[in-house]
């Protein structure tokens, strides 16, 4: 992969929480426009891995470069975060702001857009995620699936180059999962670079370029989805897939 085509590059990244080795010698490159799904048992380090990419988690060893910025440069972090969207498991919408205000806050205060421009951009994005009629609603007036779609629009409104998703559907009732996944599939098809921590294997099959399996802080296996699901190499991967696919 040429240097310009690399969006996220981990080289020998290690992180410990006290004695716990949460990221064990991670090396991984995600190219521009690539969609990478990360899965693994709980506590395997997948959330920590993705939270490193926009500097929400520091790490002790190794190098991580995102969009040409070395994460060890804490001063460059704010500029980098403008280019990297992050979607949380628990949405984290601002409860005192309407859907539209949630979406336009950062464009106005970080990008310096004027209110009219920001609102035009915000409206278009809320329409796009199917919430054109909910712009004036507060988060607590929306369902979980609607809140998560607002959260995605909030990230997109900064026009990021990369989108990170940390178990975006894990806190949702089953009937709301697809409305969120549909938005993410659309985004993937438009060519957004995405790293997605999820157990939604249907999503992985549909749009992932690669699936990564993590266990105990390390990347155990990386493969394109068809190989990953039909012919996993490692016993631990097979064991994990057996547990999540058999029902």
């Amino acid at each position: 992969m040429g240097k310009e085509a690399r969006m996220i590059e981990f080289s020998g990244v290690n992180k410990w929480f006290g004695p716990l080795h949460v990221l064990n010698d991670i090396s991984l490159t995600v190219g521009k426009g690539e969609v990478v799904v990360v899965c693994g048992p709980s506590g395997s380090g997948k959330s920590t891995l993705i939270r490193c990419v926009n500097g929400l988690e520091p790490f002790q060893q190794g190098r991580l470069v995102v969009d040409g910025t070395d994460l060890s440069n804490r001063r460059a972090l704010r500029a980098l975060r403008m280019e990297v969207g992050f979607v949380f498991q628990s949405f984290n919408l601002y409860p005192h702001k309407t859907a539209l205000e949630n979406v336009t806050l950062a464009p106005i205060h970080v990008r310096g857009l004027n209110r009219t421009e920001a609102e035009a951009r915000g409206r278009a994005l809320l329409e796009k995620v199917g919430l054109g009629d909910k712009m004036g609603n507060y988060p607590h007036q929306l369902s979980g699936g609607q809140q998560q779609r607002v959260a995605i629009a909030r990230s997109l409104c900064m026009q990021p180059k990369v989108m990170l998703f940390d178990e975006p559907t894990s806190a949702l009732d089953p009937e709301m999962i697809n409305e969120v996944l549909d938005v993410m599939v659309g985004l993937a098809r438009e060519g957004m670079t995405m790293m997605v921590v999820t157990h939604e294997m249907g999503f992985a099959r549909k749009v992932a370029d690669r699936v990564i399996f993590m266990d105990r802080g390390a990347i155990v296996e990386t493969a394109p989805p068809e190989t990953f699901f039909t012919a996993p190499l490692h016993a631990r991967t097979r064991d994990f897939l057996g547990k999540i696919l058999h029902h």
Partner: protein
């Protein structure tokens, strides 16, 4: 006991009681402003990362919370002149009230800020908002909502605490009531008149709190 209340004497002292009431009102207002200023400052110092700035704020809150207001009041009343600082009793009283309530206000504001989930801050960070922007746009507006009720509660305490200023000869509501007791040997009449004054202030603050939460509640949520 109250059946035999001498309302004629109480009415006779109405001008004194009214003066005392006004005095309590403005001592409390001044104490409140001082307490909020000190509270915000002490809280800001207590939550910021530099240890040498945090230490004095924490020590201030601890010392005030550990000692009685009466002791703090006497300490200033007798201690300041020994440092060559001579101030009117009323000003000493306001300083004592401000210092005392300020420590509690600092704790109230701090717990309001700490009640905001970490995810709110992370959402702000993830879209590139800086520390001050996150505070101003995300954390403080939510923390303030959580803080108004306990701040008004502490203000009610402050109003009642201002009665201690009568002990350093500041004329306020309690002192005015004592006049009836001393001049006419009618302590109950004096105390009832005083209590009515405090009740008025209490209900004013209580309804202010109610009006504030009615106006600032998020739509569809209590």
């Amino acid at each position: 006991m109250l059946g035999g209340l001498n309302t004629r004497v109480m009415l006779e002292y109405l001008p004194e009681i009214w003066q005392g009431f006004l005095s309590t009102l403005w001592l409390s207002a001044a104490g409140f402003l001082g307490a909020m200023a000190l509270g915000v400052l002490a809280c800001a110092l207590a939550i910021q990362p530099l240890r040498w700035l945090r230490a004095p704020a924490v020590a201030y809150v601890d010392v005030i919370r550990a000692t009685p207001l009466l002791a703090q009041l006497y300490f200033l009343y007798f201690g300041l002149p020994r440092l060559g600082i001579v101030l009117p009793e009323m000003l000493i009283g306001i300083i004592a009230l401000s210092l005392n309530s300020g420590a509690y206000m600092a704790e109230i504001i701090r717990s309001g800020i700490l009640s905001i989930p970490r995810g709110q801050v992370e959402a702000g960070m993830s879209t590139g908002l800086g520390y001050m922007q996150r505070m101003r746009l995300i954390v403080l507006p939510q923390a303030l909502r959580a803080t108004v009720s306990p701040v008004i509660g502490q203000t009610i305490v402050l109003v009642k605490d201002s009665s201690l200023l009568s002990l350093i000869s500041v004329v306020e509501l309690t002192r005015a009531g004592q006049r009836i007791a001393i001049d006419r040997f009618m302590p109950v009449e004096g105390l009832v008149a005083t209590a009515l004054g405090y009740l008025v202030l209490y209900y004013a603050l209580k309804s202010a709190a109610g009006a504030w939460s009615a106006r600032n509640a998020l739509p569809g949520r209590g």
